[in-house]
Amino acid sequence: MSQIHVTTKINGDETEFLCEPEDTLLDVLRDRLGLTGAKEGCGTGDCGACSVTVDDRLVCSCLMLGAEAEGREIATIEGMADGEVLHPLQRKFIEHAALQCGICTPGILVAAKSLLENNPDPSEEEARYWLAGNLCRCTGYDKIIRAVMDAAAEMRGEIANDPDDSLRRAS
C-alpha cells in the first residue's frame, strides 16, 4: 500500500490529504476529510447525490479519483453558505419546501448553483435538463424546480414571479 499525497483547495481552503490510489474524491471528502455533505447514492454517476465542482465544472465526485484532485479547486455543499448567510438557493429550498428527506438536497443545490452560474436566466425546461442527473425520489421535482426558478429570479434582482407565493410566505 502506497498512499498518494495530494494538495488541493477545498471550499477555498488549502487542503492536503493522503489517499489510496483507488479512493474516489467522494471517499476522500467523506471518509478522510469529514465532509459528509456529498452523499453516495449509487457510486455509478447515475444519481448526482455526490455532486461537487472541480475548477468550477460540475462533476460526480464518485467518478473521480482523489488523486486527480491535485492542484484543483473543489467546491462542496459545505462551502455554499457564506458563514451564517445562506446562499439564495439554500434559502429558497427551505421556503419552497423543496426537500422532503433531504438526501439529494446537497447534490441538487451544488448542481443548481452551477446551472445559475452558467445560465442566470434558465427556462423551466433548461433547469429540468440540467438537473436530470440529480435523482430525487420524494418530491416529484415540482417544488425543486420552483425553488431554483425563484432563486434565479431573486439573484437576477427580480421580484418573486409568483404573487401567491410571496403573499402566503408573508402570512
Partner: protein, 285 residues
Amino acid sequence: MRYEAPQSVDTAVALLAEAAGSAHVLAGGTDLLVRLRSGHIEPELVVDIKRIEGMRAIVEEDGGWRIGAGVPSAELGEHAGVRGAWPGVVEAAGLIGSTQIQGRATLAGNLCNASPAADSVPAMVAAGATARIAGPGGTRDVAVEDIPTGPGRTSLRPGEFVASIYLPAPAPRSGDAYLRFIPRTEMDIAVVGCGVALTLDEGGTCIAARVSLGAVAAKVLLVGKAAAALVGTAVDDTALAALSAACSEACSPIDDKRGTVAFRTHVAGVLAERAARIALSRAKG
C-alpha cells in the same frame, strides 16, 4: 493499483507499455471508475493522461478541429467553432449521461470504451472523424469506425492510447445530426443511435453522405447502403424511405433489458429518417 499522471506522451506510452499487469488509461473516467469500483477490473496501473500538454486543448487544424483526449464534452459544447462545424457531434457528446458526466466524459474515452451504444461514436463516424493514436511506434491516424472491434474491445495495440480526435473541415453545404432513442428523456444508454452527415451541391442534390448506427450490432456500424440511398437525390421522401429501410436492414441487434430486436430494428429506420431531415436542413443553412 498504481496511479500515474505523466506530463508527456512518451512517458505515458512507456508506462503503458511496461506495465506488468493490466493497465488502463484514465481520461474522463466515467466508465473506468464504474468498472473499477464494481470490481469488474482490477488494474495494476491507471495512467491519467489529462496532465499531458495538449490533452485538454481544442485546436483548429486544416479547417477542421483537433480535440484532445482529455477534453470533456461540456467544454466541447461551449466551443463555438466545433459547434458550428459539427453540431451533430457536439449534440451527441452532449447526450452522454448527465451534466455531471459531461463535466468529465470525453470523445476519446467514449470511443475507447467500445460500447456499441456510445452516443458520440455514430456521430463521429458520420462526420468522418479520425483518431490519432500514440504508441511505442510513434503516432498513427485511424478512422474512428476502425477503433472498436466489438463490445469492450478495440484495435489499439499494447502501449497505445488515443491522444486526440480530429474532425475534418466540413465541405460547403454540409450538415450533420445525431439522434438516439432512450426510454426516458435523459440518463439512459441509447437503445438505438443514428448519425447522419450529408453534403449538397448548389442545386440541392446530395453529393456525399455518411450514415452510422449505434446499439444495433456488436459495434457501431457505418451503413454504406443507407448513405447510397441519399446520394444523387434531393433527400426527398422516397430517398428517406429507402434510407430508413436500409438502416433497418443493416441491424443485427440483440434482445436485452434495453430493447427488443424488433424494436431496435424498427426504430433504427425511424431515427435515420428523422436525423437525415435535421442534417438536410442544416446543410441548406
